[in-house]
């Protein structure tokens, strides 16, 4: 049996990526606009250290609670820190958290869901029960318990939210595997003697990309919201690290006297989540035109 040349495999993947209907993406106005806007936001987040006018952690008590002015375009918070700088650095933190969580739960979910669907039997039963377990736990509470157990901090937050999230990806992947594994071309591949891993990676996974992408995109927005909710309950990240959710939470004490402290992070969160939702919707229109049940857990 000839060993497949790795570079051919890479070429095959590349081919899959090329097959993504870029034309359709660009044609869809909403998706294009969203991508551009998100690109801008991401750029701002990455360039934060360079464009932020002040150190986001510079405490200046005498300048506290200044409304927006020329010196401080978005005002200062209760410790005199510049809101604009914190918002920019906060973008970085929020994105890092969201992307880590989605990435982690994606990998975990695909692995477990794929294995469950493909191998079936007791592995499937166990993993399915696990999935049901994690899906039946209302997310916030689970994250609360985990962060309460492990303590607050960026890493623990990421772990908690990933553990909450992975099940939706697993369920999705399992569904995809189940529906495609009995296809003819898979059987042919098996007849030729292709290894399980190859079948999964070369054939099944690329075809499942579409709904996974949709889910992941919308998920990023949900994770940002979940992190904000955890900050509200007091289990977010240390106050010195700027993050939109904790800025919103800290500002709620001042809603009457300094409303801008909540308005700006609130708008930032809402706007970003909207972009991801629209993007996810758009992707679904393009990649999944049959509007298959993608198993989105929308909560």
């Amino acid at each position: 049996m000839k060993m497949i040349n790795p570079s051919r495999w890479q070429l095959l993947w590349f081919g899959r990526i090329c097959r993504i209907p870029y034309q359709k993406v660009l044609e869809n106005k909403i998706v294009s606009i969203c991508l551009i806007l998100l690109g801008i936001v991401l750029l701002l987040a990455i360039l934060a250290p360079m464009i932020a006018p002040y150190d986001p952690n510079a405490i200046d008590l005498k300048n506290s609670l200044h409304p927006p002015s020329t010196a401080y375009p978005l005002g200062t918070d209760h410790l005199g820190r510049d809101v604009l700088s914190r918002l920019l650095y906060g973008a970085t933190t929020s994105f890092v958290i969201a992307i880590s969580v989605v990435g982690l739960s994606l990998v975990l979910g695909l692995l477990l869901g794929g294995a469950a669907g493909y191998y079936g039997g007791w592995l499937d039963e166990t993993i399915s029960r696990l999935m049901d377990l994690f899906l039946s736990f209302p997310g916030i509470i689970f994250a609360l318990a985990i962060v309460g157990a492990l303590g607050s901090g960026v890493l623990n937050l990421i772990i908690a939210l990933s553990l909450v999230n992975w099940a939706s990806y697993a369920r999705l992947m399992r569904g995809q595997v189940l529906s495609t594994k009995n296809n003819d071309y898979i059987s042919s591949a098996r007849v030729i003697g292709a290894s399980d891993r190859r079948i999964l990676c070369r054939h099944i996974l690329p075809n499942s990309l579409a709904p996974v992408v949709v889910l992941a995109t919308m998920d990023i927005g949900h994770v940002i919201l979940a992190a904000a909710a955890l900050s509200f309950l007091g289990l977010g990240i240390p106050p010195s690290i700027p993050e939109w959710g904790s800025m919103l939470n800290a500002g709620k004490e001042f809603m009457r006297t300094a409303p801008y402290l909540t308005i700006f992070p609130g708008i930032a969160i809402t706007f970003t989540v909207i972009l991801f939702s629209l993007l996810g919707d758009g992707f679904r229109d393009i990649l999944d035109p049959n509007k298959e049940e993608t198993g989105l857990a929308i909560a």
Binding site: A58, I59, L61, L79, G151, P238, P239, M255, A258
Partner: protein, 513 residues
């Protein structure tokens, strides 16, 4: 389709049936108060301050005034018979809410029950046994000489209740106390406590007919409630709202000083905090005036000593390590800390001066003050890493020694006697003594004070303790906690009692329409 809508309408109607409308208030004078902490149950031992202070259902043997003096309440006089025996004489004219007379037996019941159910009370009292001499005289024998005993009886958990409050199996029925108000109802779901006027109160007439206390643990909710008029009286609204609420026509918000402290503990077991000059430098670096003004919005008072000058036992001549940046920098430089690499943080032998700072979010002022401290320490080149954890997590870290600085709140006059705070914070093995500080001079003075009866002698002994410990600076006081009391202008006669746990109503209060 119509069926579906009918079903939904039925759903809504079902919702409405769950509700009972709120009881309407007639022409009685009712005070609606919002309290800070939850009221868990009708047993006064579970949250004694709700009964002895917020609703005045129970009364303690001993009370206190704004000058922290111990005054008789249900007890008339007390004296020490020998170093382990205290004798208390009780009032003769007090009746419980069920019209039974207050006797020494009820006091014995209350104290013993308190010591049995509440571990802290047991620790304060250190009961050996209680002897009833006659119906108005009671003798309390303690295991060790306890000069703090009378002051311990000020604790609201020891509000005297009648033996009839429990049934023959010891199960609690309802609180029968002696105070100006008697227990009316407690809503198990919302924890709203309603009490009504006691016409037979020994202390005289009362103007208010009813007090309804609603626990609201969120300060913003309390502020909104008072602003909207849902409540007449509340405390501890967000600091930045105090001025705004005060400026509203029908409301007033006043700030009072409390014996709570913002205390920064320093782990003397770690380098370089074992160096007394570094500890002094940290104290010199804190701009307490700015913190109180900008971070606490004036709700609090700057202080570098635990006892405020209004307390009769305060040693007003101790050295204050107040804001002095130059001295701070000098002390650090003299100890060999120099910023060799220009990164803003001092270092010595290659190690940067980095300290962990822990605090917890349960009290609203702690986190902002801690954040401000990070900024202040940065000015003198010390990098403080702030971590906000739950109190339980902080306790764990303390046990493991995994901390450099902890900012927390503590009540230095929980029992209106300086021995309480000084023993715990500086006595060997004291429960607030986290760094195993052990100074034989201090211990000797503390023991002597516990065995002395005369108050003035004790105060002098403890003043010396204060001066020694202030010098040693194992902790730094940043400020005294302030509390804002917000009330409608129609609420009259409120006098703030600093020894209360948050707030204590007084019987002279009235509501004028």
């Amino acid at each position: 389709m119509k069926n579906m809508y009918v079903a939904m309408l039925a759903l809504i109607l079902a919702n409405m049936l769950f509700f009972c409308p709120a009881a309407s208030i007639d022409s009685e004078k009712t005070l609606n108060a919002a309290s800070m902490w939850d009221i868990p149950d009708v047993d006064p031992i579970l949250r004694g301050d709700a009964w002895a202070e917020k609703t005045l259902v129970t009364e303690t043997l001993v009370t206190s005034n704004q000058d922290y003096e111990l005054l008789p309440q249900l007890a008339t006089t007390w004296r020490q018979l020998d170093d382990k025996t205290w004798e208390f004489k009780l009032r003769d004219d007090v009746f419980f809410h069920d019209n039974s007379k207050l006797t020494a037996d009820d006091v014995k019941f209350t104290l013993e029950r308190g010591a049995e159910l509440d571990a802290a009370i047991a620790g304060y009292l250190q009961l050996d046994r209680i002897d009833v001499i006659d119906s108005n005289t009671i003798r309390i024998l303690t295991k060790n000489p306890n000069a703090m005993l009378p002051a311990s009886l000020h604790s609201p958990s020891l509000g005297v209740i009648s033996r009839n409050s429990v049934d023959k199996d010891g199960k609690f029925i309802k609180p029968i106390g002696t105070g100006p108000f008697k227990f009316e109802s407690f809503d198990a779901q919302t924890h709203v406590l309603t009490v009504s006027k006691n016409d037979n109160w020994w202390g005289g007439d009362i103007a208010i007919d009813r007090i309804i206390t609603t626990p609201m643990t969120d300060p913003n909710a309390r502020a909104s409630a008072i602003e909207k008029g849902d409540v007449d009286f509340t405390v501890d609204i967000p600091y930045n709202e105090v001025e705004r609420i005060d400026s509203i026509d029908s409301l007033s918000a006043k700030i009072f000083d409390t014996p709570y402290l913002y205390r920064l503990d320093l782990n003397t077991g770690h380098e370089p905090l074992n160096n007394i000059d570094i500890r002094h430098a940290l104290s010199y670096a804190v701009n307490r005036d700015d913190i109180v003004e900008y971070v606490l919005f004036g709700v609090g008072s700057p202080s570098s000593v635990p006892f405020s000058s209004s307390m009769p036992w305060a040693n007003n001549s101790v050295r204050h390590y107040d804001y002095d940046i130059e001295t701070a920098k000098e002390l650090l430089a003299d100890a060999g800390w120099i910023d060799t690499d220009g990164d803003g943080t001092l270092d010595k032998e290659g190690k940067p001066l980095e300290l962990s700072l822990l605090t917890y979010p349960t009290r609203p002022g702690l986190v902002p003050v801690a954040e401000a401290l990070v900024g202040e320490f940065k000015e003198i080149g010390i990098k403080a890493d702030l971590e906000v954890l739950e109190w339980g997590a902080i306790t764990d870290k303390r046990k493991d020694g995994d901390w450099d600085m902890v900012l927390f709140a503590t009540n230095c006059a929980l029992i209106p006697d300086p021995q309480y705070y000084l023993q715990r914070s500086y006595g060997t093995g004291g429960s607030y003594n986290y760094v195993s500080y052990s100074n034989p001079d201090v211990d000797e003075l503390l023991t002597e004070s516990m065995e002395t009866e005369d108050l003035q002698t004790r105060y002098n002994l403890l003043k010396e303790v204060q001066s020694i410990t202030q010098e040693d600076s194992i902790n730094i006081i940043v400020a005294h906690y302030g509390i804002a009391v917000a009330a409608k202008d129609s609420v009259k006669g409120f006098e703030f009692d600093p020894t209360a746990h948050d707030y204590k109503l007084n019987p002279e209060m009235d509501i004028e329409e």
